[in-house]
Point group: C2
Chain length 336, copies 2
Amino acid sequence: MASNKELVEQKAIFAAYLKKKKLKITRQRQVILENFLKTEGHLSTEELYQQVRQKDRTIGYATVSRTMKALTDAGLAREIDLGDSRSRFEPLYKRPHHHHIICVECQKAIEFLSPELEQLQEQVVSRYRFQPVRHHFQVFGVCEDCQEHRPAKHEDFDSDLVFARDALRIALQTEKNGVNFYQSLAKAATDARGRNAFLEMAAEEEKHLRELEGEWETLVKRNKRVLKAPVFLHFDYNELNRLFPSPEELQKRHLERLSLEEALHLALSMEQGAHRFFKRYAEKFNDTRGKGIFLKFAEEELEHCELIQQECDRLLGSSTPLPQSQEPEIGSETTA
Amino acid sequence: MASNKELVEQKAIFAAYLKKKKLKITRQRQVILENFLKTEGHLSTEELYQQVRQKDRTIGYATVSRTMKALTDAGLAREIDLGDSRSRFEPLYKRPHHHHIICVECQKAIEFLSPELEQLQEQVVSRYRFQPVRHHFQVFGVCEDCQEHRPAKHEDFDSDLVFARDALRIALQTEKNGVNFYQSLAKAATDARGRNAFLEMAAEEEKHLRELEGEWETLVKRNKRVLKAPVFLHFDYNELNRLFPSPEELQKRHLERLSLEEALHLALSMEQGAHRFFKRYAEKFNDTRGKGIFLKFAEEELEHCELIQQECDRLLGSSTPLPQSQEPEIGSETTA
DNA sequence: ATCTGTGCAAAATGTTTGCACCACA
DNA sequence: TGTGGTGCAAACATTTTGCACAGAT
């Protein structure tokens, strides 16, 4: 369900590719591209062939096959392997790299995205000094419907909305943790000035939370069905507990009682951690639609850093400059 | 390079499988199984066919193909996909589930194991309520040799030794971190009794470290070439910083100054964390050769827990029982 | 006008199957 | 002695290619 604008953009990319390669824009190639993009899915050559045949009885299998090769070469399609030993293709334009979980009974394939996995891939290629070309993770299993012998319902969802939904969920949870975190700090603060500062921060996070809840409402109102789509963006919510420790976690780490300076210091390093985390997270999306969402999110964490920095200046005096967020951080390379 | 004992075991498994299915043990099936196991690799049907043909000119391609199906069904082989659209097989018996990084130029495939990835798979199937069947992660790229246009050298290593090497490296690093950690705690301890207790713990870890270094020497002496094998067990050494925080990390977490009770409490929770971590880690290996190594390792961490518990009793009196390690812990499920 | 694209059919590639003999148990 | 096994060749499934004609720039 790509927007019309994107269809035009992709046609232009294909045209440019053909021109560069001194190839021709033909009716067949147009029809094939349009049909391929129209169907968000994992079309095999045969399926696509049958589909374009509806539009134009004369188009041959070979042409479909050759055109898909060209589209792949042009960067508009990706050939994927769903384990049924036939070539399948999916649209690539402005879509993040993702993986598939495939039902071995009904062949349904669910897409999911995992920045964690992208990171693992980076570690692996760097460790073995490979120049990366491509990678994929596939999980095969029996889907819920097939386990219960229900007919498999195949629903198509707008992938942009699903992505936005998942990102928003992460954002909401982050803000909730933030509120909790600052309320805990306020409790832990041993003096009144600190308490107030942290309550303010908690209020700030709560304001964000309300805004996000508004966005959530809008999203859901726009498309109720989106709630039924399977999770696309795979996120380990435990990660958040590392960014903003829960009250229990704080206790476990012996941070129930903090001086003003310690508490501010802790808050700053948490916000810096969150900023870095979401910035890196965003980077995993390359030039795809999801990137902006998380960059904005990282930006907000940065604003929090500044707020805290201001509190520090106000409460501690500029005499005690807190350490700046320093890149590079703990790093991704090993010490073997 | 499987041991003779394992060859016999696998033959027995195949025999039992054939018996159960009322199939017959034939000369061809024996030859094919032996050749398949003899070659630790990723044989295609064609390659294996050529190989058994050396032994017995009359064996047909179809028989090889059918036998590999049977071996797969019997659980002795796994069919893998190295992206060249032909069936390839690898031995499965007592080998942990692993993944492949494949050179698109010379087709060389390096195996690597990542418990982290196994965990991700578990999260994914549970999230989508799939009944898991199989999963694999493949990374394609250009290997170092091909990047520099060197002839690809194909070396075979004893997979057991390589696994042991990698496990030992992790263990060594863990103990090193442990020594550091206890030395830091000793410094941070505000009273002399605590300081001594932690120096003792540090010495304990150091003793382990020496033992492990001994094991390392033995391993390397037994087979020097093993050091040249690519990393098999992929481990994120940053993980260790989470188990036993480095001095910098301790400082960052505002734990430079601890009362005896706090310090003991911290040490106990770190050791518990390490125990749990390695126990879970070991579980990812199912019934494979690597499992034992990490279980033993987890066991040692548990002994540390008990040592610390004793210190607590001795120094704090049994009046302050510290919290027990509680399963279930922070858990793997999300809070979306 | 030229040079690439196309459809068709044939080839190529890899795996599976049918069937008449073969050989374990 | 009989059931399942084997090799061979043919069938299958899917993708790729060769070629003569069609059509885009």
